[in-house]
Symmetry: C2
Subunit: 218 residues, 2 copies
């Protein structure tokens, strides 16, 4: 049975995985009849944000432990997962992709990808296994795979797109209900909440992304 | 425009709102073209559970602040919301309904409903405005509205159903993809993760519940 990894980065748009994007990814995979394997790095979150006030607070939380909320406890430590365990992987968005999976949110053009994330993404790419990325998560792909000239989208934020291009990526503008496919590198991306406006629109792009990923592995 | 409240209880199946049920409720409402108003009580969670290990930890979190993660910050303090602000309200499930909106998880047959939740539910009922409840959340309705003989479902857990009947409710067994409608009391319930097994099945029941609620207010 096809098994698709879902790489989470915490639980909440401002310091972890964007919850709607993560759940809609899981729903799409479930409807496509494939197995999912949720995973997250076992590291401290970069910060903890009070989502009511939108302000950082002096708390510490663990990315794997908080991601387990979205996964209902069915989640693996990223360190235990290799490219041979899964047929493809999808990265939902949220600031967690840019704070925990990488430091793009704070380092911008100097961003680095977390070593375990970098390992999995480069091994997946080497094995020609598809990678999907949603919202801001394509920034992680741009940095991790920039030397392969990945074609991707983060919607229409051209200032941010310029930084991704400085990593080696080629950015394409894309509406929320669509996807950008890089056949050569086996990448699929969709803007989701980089554009919004709401759940029904981001679900269209995420459904297409999941379907394309499953088509690529089948 | 029709406005439907979504009453949250934290963020995570074991100590808050079940995240999938909450997001699927919001998705269904968005697709039905109605406005949503997320709300939660501004109180301390009964406990904080490590969702990786499934064990309570010595932390404190606030129900409104954690619920804001699911709502992307667009959420109101339940204390500021009255029945006149909304046309209907839906309660997703998760242990938060039985730990924070009520103490059903610990008190069982002696359970009480949080005063603010009780106020809103009884005012909604008095105004003949529909109430939807998902998974274990019908237990809150059973306790809050037991004197009206509410007809509802929590799936097929007959031991738990017996307690709800001791509150005055009449329990109906129901499969995950279906709903139970109490026309007299304007209630709609669906079992969701009381039965599972996964996202695509619970989405069927939640979609029907949201559609029925919107039909009732239109």
């Amino acid at each position: 049975m096809v098994k698709i990894g879902v790489l989470l980065a915490g639980c909440g748009v401002n310091d972890g995985s964007e919850i709607h994007e993560a759940v809609l990814t899981m729903l799409a995979l479930d409807r496509l009849g494939v197995e999912r394997l949720c995973m997250a790095p076992n590291i401290k979150q970069r910060d903890v944000v009070d989502h009511l006030l939108g302000e950082a607070v002096s708390e510490t939380r663990n990315v794997l432990v908080e991601s387990a909320r979205i996964a209902r406890g069915e989640i693996s430590d990223l360190a235990d997962i290799t490219a041979s365990d899964i047929d493809a992987v999808i990265l939902p968005g949220g600031f967690g992709a840019a704070k925990n999976l990488s430091d793009f949110a704070v380092a911008g053009a100097q961003a680095e990808v977390h070593p375990e994330v970098l390992r999995l993404l480069r091994d997946m790419h080497k094995a020609k296994k598809p990678i999907g990325a949603i919202c801001i998560a394509p920034a992680v792909l741009a940095r991790a795979l920039g030397d392969f000239g990945p074609e991707l989208t983060i919607g229409n934020d051209l200032a941010t797109a310029k930084i991704l291009e400085s990593f080696g990526a080629r950015h394409q503008e894309c509406p929320v209900y669509e996807i950008v496919i890089d056949q050569r590198n086996c990448l699929v991306t969709t803007p989701a909440y980089m554009l919004g406006p709401g759940l029904k629109e981001i679900a269209q792009g995420i459904d297409k992304l999941a379907q394309q990923i499953v088509t690529m592995v089948s």
